[in-house]
């Protein structure tokens, strides 16, 4: 079984936020109004952490894209009372929107705060309604959602590969954020495939993962010269 993983090269990343926009469009993520956004209810599957270091005038700014880390040992699925979030056999941590009871226990348990909640019925501007992605189901109010590593794309890739009777090649399955990145800083692939770009990057001396000491084993690797 493949083990899908992502590598984000922070030395290449310009922090432009294109991945965030691509993700929102690809996955029909609701766009909350300004008032809601001010109340910390922004819905982003691909978030961008902005970290300021040092004091004026020597401020260092870090921009770090943050999707769901699809942990191998996810703290969120352990606490779900109804099996609405689970790890599938390819290592993707998935959500079942139609089963979620909205207790938000998984959000409280996630050390990476990767999940978002539909505080109201999701809404889009009229212009958006004509260009929804038909491959991704819409969510309803009161359920938790998060980055799926664009699992609907995997579905298509798998079907194509099966039709042609071949294995999925490296780079064939790639989520919207990786595809759209203008700096080509996001890589995606199979960790089990020792030839894949992601496997090589994950073994790079520059590679690290967030909060590794928690034992969650994230499948998103960051690459950076500086720590």
């Amino acid at each position: 079984m493949p083990k899908w993983a992502m590598a984000i090269d922070l030395d290449k990343c310009t922090g432009c936020g294109d991945c965030m926009a691509a993700c929102k469009l690809e996955n029909n993520v609701a766009i909350v109004d300004a008032e809601q956004a001010a109340d910390d209810r922004v819905m982003l599957w691909m978030d961008m952490m902005t970290i300021y270091e040092g004091e004026y005038p020597n401020i260092k700014l870090k921009r770090i894209p943050k999707p769901c880390f699809h942990c191998d040992n996810p703290p969120c699925i352990k606490v779900c009372p109804v099996h609405a979030t689970y790890k599938n056999e390819e290592g993707l941590v998935a959500q079942i929107y139609n089963r979620c009871i909205g207790c938000r226990y998984c959000m409280a348990a996630c050390p990476y705060t990767a999940k978002v909640f539909n505080w109201y019925e999701p809404e889009w501007a009229d212009e958006f309604k004509t260009c929804m992605n038909p491959d991704v189901s819409l969510r309803m109010k009161g359920v938790v959602e998060k980055c799926s590593f664009c699992a609907h794309r995997l579905q298509k890739v798998k079907e194509n590969a099966r039709a042609d009777d071949r294995e999925i090649s490296d780079g064939e399955y790639s989520p919207a954020c990786a595809d759209s990145c203008p700096a080509e800083a996001i890589f995606f692939g199979d960790l089990e495939n020792k030839e894949s770009k992601v496997f090589k990057l994950s073994n790079s001396p520059r590679a690290f993962r967030e909060l590794e000491d928690l034992g969650t084993i994230p499948k998103v690797f960051y690459l950076s010269e500086k720590e």
């Binding site: 910390d40 943050k66 009372p81 609405a84 009871i101 009161g142």
Partner: protein
């Protein structure tokens, strides 16, 4: 009715009076409470209609007042059954006028507390998924299990010792005889019935203690099973149980003092009862401080950065006022009042109890919010301000509690009449016999 029963009825007439005499103020209070509850219901329906957006919760503070009040109310519910079971088990004779009220608190507050997780759901319409798709590995399911068990056990434990009193009400005639006839289950006070009842109570009171302890332990597990700083702590189980009993005793004394005042039960609830309970409250206050001290000292000494973020948030940050308010309400005020006989009067004990209830609510707030507001990743600190909806539902919960008590006191005696009678008739002799048995036997009788 023969002469003898008439006499006993007269002695305890004060206990029957609230059932048969209803003043204007009662209807006024019930109407007012029903108005609050009706309004709360409207506010809740509005929340279901629009979604949880009407609350003050957000990302990362995904839990707010509902979970705080859930832990708080279930904590209060430990007053009852646990205290009355322990007092019965230890044969504390002063328990007799107290147990009934304690058990009523449990039944009412547990029902309110148990509803809170459902109020908190984003999709309350799917709550039955817990049964069709439930995962027993989730601490939330442990909760559902133990709260259901506790609710069942404590309502039975409330009902069984009420049977002889219900039979008394049936025999008195007057209002709603069919109702008491049905509930009294054919009780006639025969020797056999008495034996069966006392056996059933004995079995239940032993059973109810581990269930009660499991309830608050499991509630603490909701937090401690996650990896979040400030929550992931092994001390949480006993810490929550101690806090629960602590707030339970305080709530019990507030209820006792109110009923004593409004139903004129000074003859039954004497200063000595409050002094004994006050001593228990003092012990729990010291225990609570010991647990709190241990919990924070280990955190501060280890000084793990994420843990320290949460601790500083409580000690000197946004939550400093709530944290130090909690220490004052839970430790300083009750200890000063209860340690000195001079202050240990009824008004003093009332102040201490109110202070403890407020303090324990603050403790729950201090546990739930700061850990969520300080996420580990380099994100901004979260902020949580409860909305009008959440305040309304909190006040609605309190209104249900008061209304539940008022209605109960209109149908059933809030002090166990038969247990008082039994105490008068038998326990003086029994206690004398018990104490004699503790004393050394005459030297020559030892084999």
């Amino acid at each position: 009715m023969n002469e003898e029963t008439k006499n006993t009825v007269d002695i305890d007439e004060a206990l029957y009076r609230p059932i048969y005499e209803t003043g204007k103020s009662f209807y006024f209070a019930v109407g007012f409470l029903l108005f609050i509850i009706g309004f709360t219901l409207v506010v809740y329906i509005r929340q279901v209609y629009y979604g949880l957006g009407v609350t003050g919760m957000n990302q990362p503070v995904t839990w707010g007042f509902y979970i705080v009040n859930f832990v708080f109310f279930v904590g209060i519910s430990h007053a009852g059954t646990l205290i009355s079971a322990i007092l019965r088990l230890s044969k504390a004779e002063w328990r007799r006028p107290i147990t009934r009220m304690a058990e009523v608190i449990t039944a009412i507050v547990l029902a309110i507390g148990g509803l809170h997780p459902i109020i908190d759901l984003g999709r309350p319409d799917r709550v039955l998924n817990i049964f069709t798709a439930g995962r027993l590995q989730s601490p939330l399911l442990w909760d559902v299990t133990s709260i259901t068990a506790y609710f069942t056990a404590s309502t039975v434990y409330l009902y069984l010792p009420m049977i002889p009193d219900i039979a008394k009400l049936r025999d008195r005639g007057g209002k709603m005889v069919w109702f008491y006839e049905f509930l009294s289950w054919g009780w006639h006070g025969t020797e056999h019935q008495k034996k069966v009842l006392s056996r059933a109570i004995n079995i239940l009171m032993v059973m109810v203690i581990p269930i009660a302890i499991s309830v608050h332990t499991v509630i603490s597990y909701i937090f401690s099973m996650t990896l979040q700083p400030g929550w992931h702590s092994t001390i949480f189980g006993p810490y929550f149980v101690v806090g629960a009993i602590f707030s339970g005793i305080a709530a019990l004394m507030i209820v006792m003092i109110s009923f004593r005042k409004y139903f004129h039960l000074e003859n039954y609830l004497k200063l000595v009862h409050f002094r004994h309970l006050g001593t228990l409250l003092l012990i729990m206050s010291l225990l609570w401080f010991y647990f709190t001290f241990s919990e924070y000292l280990t955190g501060v000494f280890g000084a793990e950065p994420h843990e320290m973020d949460v601790i500083f948030y409580k000690f000197t940050g946004t939550y400093a006022i709530f944290f130090w308010g909690m220490v004052v309400c839970n430790f300083l005020i009750p200890v000063v009042i209860l340690a000195f006989k001079k202050f240990k009067t009824i008004p003093g004990i009332l102040i201490a109890s109110i202070s403890v209830v407020i303090g324990m609510w603050l403790e729950r707030l201090n546990i739930v919010i700061p850990s969520l507001a300080n996420p580990r990743m380099g994100l901004d600190m979260g902020m949580y301000i409860p909305s009008f909806t959440e305040w309304t539902l909190f006040i609605g919960g309190l209104a249900v509690f008061v209304l539940g008590f008022l209605v109960f006191s209109k149908f059933f005696p809030i002090i166990s009449i038969w247990e008082i009678e039994e105490g008068r008739k038998e326990s003086v002799k029994e206690v004398e016999k018990r104490v004699t048995s503790y004393l050394p036997d005459p030297a020559n009788s030892v084999e």
